[in-house]
Symmetry: C2
Subunit: 334 residues, 2 copies
């Protein structure tokens, strides 16, 4: 299980996780790409270390330059670090024991304060980020402009620096063929949809990340409220579509779910893509009560766990990974 993912999350029939992050930068310090490898970068990191490491907390500091490719990929696939952070020469990560709290240091901004939790939890996710922001403020003067708000390296984050993302499994809408239309309509509510690995990534097995687009000229609390309302409606819609689909195509859906289960339980090797597709179908079946081999969270977790890097001992081949993936899934489902 990804450490931050717990059983019995809120709305887990449709929602994998909620993530909040606040982008913050030190005042009077150039943005990360301008100070790579300089003493200023070291100062940026030191302020986070002084705040979060020790002081009665068992947070861990990881410096990217000390990690192997496999370790870095694992962090990306568990959604606790970005690819950009991994590529940053000064990049560092502060991580809580359950990996729900992560602070990316010297990524695009000096600090990215993040909280990740299973289920639909925008208020709590925001609240935890806010507490970290207050803590860090003891050691860092934030770059702030009275007119714009918090300053960030990329103008798309200026203002609140707040991004709340909800990862949704929109299998019903995908099967009904309405997912694109519905996701395109999110723009009018200030939200946007992306694949599960963020900007530019394509949707994997009907998992989508919905997040707020707007950070400027809006209060942080209103971002949270908007996510609660619009994503709440989306969750409701997805449930209705699933019920309708099942009512109108009961046999078809049951057959599809049970075949996916049969393949996952017996296949000797599984590619990441195929595993993801079948697990997605199985998650639908669990939510419809067709089958109950494990929790939704276990399925979501298997999807993350069976991504290439999670299975990679260094130099392991694609073929060996396909075997290890199938074995992990068989063992989990049996």
């Amino acid at each position: 299980m990804a450490r931050w993912l717990k059983e019995n999350s809120a709305d887990s029939d449709v929602v994998v996780s909620t993530r909040a992050r606040l982008a913050r930068n030190r005042a009077a310090t150039p943005f990360p790409h301008k100070i790579a490898g300089t003493p200023q970068a070291a100062l940026v990191r030191q302020a986070a270390v002084d705040t979060f490491i020790g002081n009665g907390r068992d947070f861990q500091l990881m410096e990217m330059k000390n990690l192997s490719e496999v370790e870095k990929n694992r962090l990306v696939e568990q959604h606790v670090a970005s690819k950009e952070l991994c590529a940053s020469e000064d990049g560092a990560l502060v991580l809580s024991p359950d990996e729900s709290i992560s602070i990316m240091i010297m990524e695009e901004d000096h600090y990215r304060l993040q909280y990740l939790k299973g289920g639909f939890q925008p208020e709590e996710a925001y609240q935890v980020c806010k507490e970290m922001e207050h803590l860090l403020a003891k050691n860092v003067d934030y770059a702030f402009n009275n007119k714009l708000g918090y300053l960030t390296a990329c103008p798309t984050n200026v203002g609140t620096g707040l991004r709340i993302s909800v990862m949704l499994h929109l299998k019903g809408m995908a099967l009904a063929g309405t997912v694109d239309q519905i996701l395109n309509s999110l723009g009018q509510f200030g939200l946007t949809a992306r694949g599960i690995y963020g900007e530019g990534s394509s949707p994997t097995a009907d998992f989508y990340q919905i997040s707020n687009q707007i950070t400027l000229g809006i209060r942080e609390e209103d971002v949270v409220k908007n996510i609660r309302q619009v994503v709440g409606r989306l969750i409701h819609q997805e449930r209705e579509i699933r019920k309708l689909l099942y009512k109108n195509n009961q046999l078809e859906i049951e057959d599809r779910v049970l075949r996916a289960y049969g393949t996952l339980k017996h296949a000797k090797k599984l590619s990441s893509e195929e595993a993801c597709q079948h697990l997605s179908t199985l998650a639908l079946g669990i939510s419809l009560g067709i089958i109950n081999p494990c929790s939704q969270e276990t399925i979501y977790n298997l999807i993350m766990d069976t991504m290439p890097a999670m299975l990679t001992a260094e130099n392991q081949s694609v073929a060996q990974r396909d075997l290890a993936r199938a074995e992990l899934i068989r063992n989990t489902l049996n």
Copy 2:
């Protein structure tokens, strides 16, 4: 289980069944198509009834005109009657309790004496037909020409009137892509290959019926001997190809077999074609020792049992049959 198919048949890793039949006609009586619906047809039938019904035997007489379409289809799919017999207005069938002995009356010839047994048993199959021929000779003078031998409606059967057919599962050759080439070479040995429902039927999931082509100018015993030799070599070749394939593609084959098993064990609905394909793959897996959920005979039998007519209560739809087929297979494998 088809009544004539028993567990632990000879060479059942490759061979489903052996069938022998002798075509015989009454002397001085026109062939069936010339006497349809006449008293002569009734005489033809009566001679067989007098010979085989009663007299301490519990053989059963079935008249085609009294059977429903579903009952007739079942006989065809269990290989105890032909479509031609079912369509004949005077058509009748004498059947032993285990359905291994069947005598088709007023099919293409007046009498077709047949014996059907699981595994590779050409000598025994021939012997049983020969005993029936002797019995029937008490009530019937056979149409016989000293130069040609036994006379039959179709010139391809003149001479011995003997056809021995062996149903083989040539999955290894099919996977290796050599099956066509090997089957085409059978002509030089006086043998021919067809699909599992005889002349003109196409191969189903790599099951083939191999039989002798020649009936004229040859001794019956030599037909049996030739089948033993050539088909015996074919069985050996098939085993070698399976072993080699498995050795060179172990993972691929195991994955394929286990996926077929997973689908058969879990699918909610299965078409006849898909079921047949997966059962064929599973049979290969059993012969290679990859998996052992049941005997080869059980698989062969499932293939016959899940043919459309075996599942048809009158007026049952295709969709209902697909459900019933999947259920039967799930229940058998569980």
